[in-house]
């Protein structure tokens, strides 16, 4: 083999090697790019799905002490220790295919409500504070808010005595009170209406569980769905007046009724008030005694 041939061979092999390394570098770059793009696409899909999956359905309730839903999905590691430490076995972890974010704990009030253990074992078991350990008193729990959502079907609104929700409430008389209203249908009875108070209701769900209807008329909803919020600029005049000791609007305009001279009306002080002389010098063509009127009528008829 001549030198030239040798050189040619070596050059050729060098060229081959250079080409190969170039190719493999290109292949490496291409592969990396492919994996990176695939990963990014997958991430986009998973991230978007997670946003959807974190929308917690309204008919499910998180255990006491649970962080707000958007924080909860970042704190809960789905270990199920809360489920295990619940003495009443009312908590469950969401399985694949359920509407609740996979593996997170919840309960359904209508099936098994929270029994409000004083030592809150479910929250104490949580290793990540997804169920906050800062919750020391179960009465401070805010799992949701009970709402008497169907006033058409609730039998209290029909004038029937029920008050089951009021009686099962662990904070009876605070979270649910009974307010009496006139029964306009019968005209002589009262309606015993259960009223929920958000400053005391823990959202335990006992009222929803106990409601005697086939579908509960009172339901525990996530607080953000159940609760309205008055505009921050709103001031209630009578409260401001009470707070300040005097009216903030000067002069305090007095409500005036269009009444005959000397007649007064005050709702809080016995209603209509006639002037004292009016009672003595009655200048009316009609007698105040109904019997006299009746006699008068009879006389007219006999004539």
């Amino acid at each position: 083999m001549s030198d030239k041939q040798k050189r040619g061979l070596s050059v050729e092999s060098e060229g081959k090697q250079a080409g190969k390394s170039k190719l493999s570098r290109r292949k490496f770059m291409g592969d990396t790019l492919k994996t990176a793009c695939g990963t990014a696409l997958l991430g986009l899909g998973m991230g978007t799905y997670s946003r959807q999956a974190s929308s917690f359905p309204a008919w499910t309730i998180r255990p006491p002490g649970a962080l707000p839903e958007d924080e909860f999905s970042g704190a809960c590691i789905r270990c199920g220790l809360c489920v295990r430490d619940c003495p009443y076995d009312m908590l469950r972890l969401a399985e694949l295919g359920e509407q609740v974010a996979l593996g997170t704990p919840y309960f359904v009030a209508r099936e098994k409500p929270c029994e409000m253990c004083e030592d809150i074992p479910c929250a104490a078991a949580c290793p990540t504070n997804a169920l906050s350990h800062e919750l020391k008193n179960i009465d401070d729990a805010r799992m949701g808010l009970a709402v008497l959502i169907d006033q058409e079907e609730c039998i209290a609104f029909q004038g029937l005595r029920c008050e089951v929700c009021y009686n099962v409430c662990p904070l009876e008389g605070e979270a649910i009170t009974i307010e009496m209203q006139p029964n306009r249908r019968s005209g002589k009875h009262a309606l015993f209406i259960p009223v929920v108070h958000s400053d005391a209701c823990t959202g335990c769900g006992k009222c929803e569980k106990a409601c005697i209807l086939e579908e509960a008329a009172i339901k525990v909803l996530p607080t953000h769905l159940a609760k309205g919020l008055l505009g921050k600029h709103y001031r209630l005049g009578w409260k401001q007046k009470e707070k300040a000791g005097h009216s903030l609007v000067t002069p305090d305009i007095k409500h005036r009724y269009n009444l005959p001279e000397g007649v007064r009306y005050d709702y809080n002080k016995g209603g209509l008030e006639l002037p004292p002389e009016a009672k003595l010098e009655r200048d009316s063509p009609f007698s105040s005694n109904p019997l006299e009127s009746l006699k008068k009528l009879q006389n007219q008829e006999s004539k």
């Binding site: 990963t39 799905y49 946003r51 704190a75 399985e95 593996g103 990540t128």
Partner: protein, 288 residues
């Protein structure tokens, strides 16, 4: 050639003939006993009302005393801005220490329930003689690991736990499976028909995390008697991460230690079982 194919379909035949059935399956059986034993401990509570361990692999409490927590899940929680409780931290520390010593991917081969599924898929694949396998990089899992740690940072939710087949399966068995069995079936089918060792060997970010954790672990498999190797190829056929064997087994000329010092070795010990020449054994980083 025909003989070689047959061998590859039935690796370990010679080991059974030479060492007996038990020694040719010892580590496999021990491994299955540990995997199923852990599941049984968790199941004893809800099924038999014997509460030794409660919770699941994400976090558990043993005998009302010993907390154990999965550092990977906790890290995802941390990325979404939530710090664990003291008990959670202690649990993480114990688990971190354990796997850093015995080998990170010991989690994969001795604990993870999906391993049983994918091992079954690999066995099935060999029996069916399926050779086609879609090729993608084994480093994909590290990309996915990065992704699962970045997503909580962006969405402030532990996104991966909505998908993670490992926790899905383990939690499913203990707390109720739902539709999760379909995911398990999908992984089995993927490993059999689409990609050889596709899930555990290429994609799973849980395994990727644990491989990084056990990067410098002490317990290692060693090809101590590599000069006895008769090139039967059985170890490569059964190994879930075949790339880790070659340097240790064939690197004598290049002065490479017989210790399989690869983070992706799962310490499953199947190579020890199927080798009829007793090339492999469990050893330690400090021995060789």
């Amino acid at each position: 050639m025909v003989k070689q194919t047959a061998r590859n379909q039935f690796p370990g035949q010679q080991a059974i003939e030479k060492k007996g059935w038990w020694l040719a399956h010892k580590w496999l059986i021990l491994r299955r006993m540990v995997q199923l034993g852990i599941l049984a401990l968790f199941l004893a509570g809800p099924l038999l009302d014997v509460w030794i361990v409660k919770g699941n692999l994400a976090s558990s409490l043993t005998l009302e005393f010993l907390p154990l927590s999965d550092p990977y899940v906790m890290l995802q929680g941390l990325m979404s801005g939530h710090f664990p409780t003291t008990e959670g931290l202690i649990g993480v520390a114990i688990v971190l220490l354990f796997y850093a010593l015995v080998g990170g991917r010991v989690y994969c081969s001795w604990v993870c329930p999906v391993n049983i599924v994918t091992d079954a898929a690999a066995w099935f694949r060999r029996k069916l003689g399926i050779k086609v396998s879609s090729q993608f990089s084994r480093s994909t899992r590290y990309w996915l690991l990065g992704l699962t740690l970045i997503l909580p940072l962006i969405t402030s939710a532990i996104v991966w736990e909505l998908f993670n087949p490992v926790s899905l399966m383990f939690r499913g068995i203990i707390f109720g499976i739902g539709w999760a069995w379909m995911v398990i079936l999908a992984i089995f089918a993927f490993d059999v028909f689409v990609s050889q060792r596709g899930w555990c060997g290429h994609l799973c970010p849980v395994g990727a995390f644990y491989s990084l954790l056990g990067h410098k672990s002490i317990v290692r498999v060693s090809a101590q008697k590599r000069e006895q190797c008769d090139d039967c190829n059985d170890c490569f056929v059964v190994c879930p991460e075949p790339k880790v064997i070659r340097p240790a087994l064939k690197g004598a000329d290049k002065g490479i230690s017989p210790l399989i010092d690869e983070a992706n070795c799962t310490n499953c010990g199947r190579c020890i079982d199927v080798c009829d020449e007793d090339v492999f054994n469990f050893s330690s980083r400090f021995k060789d």
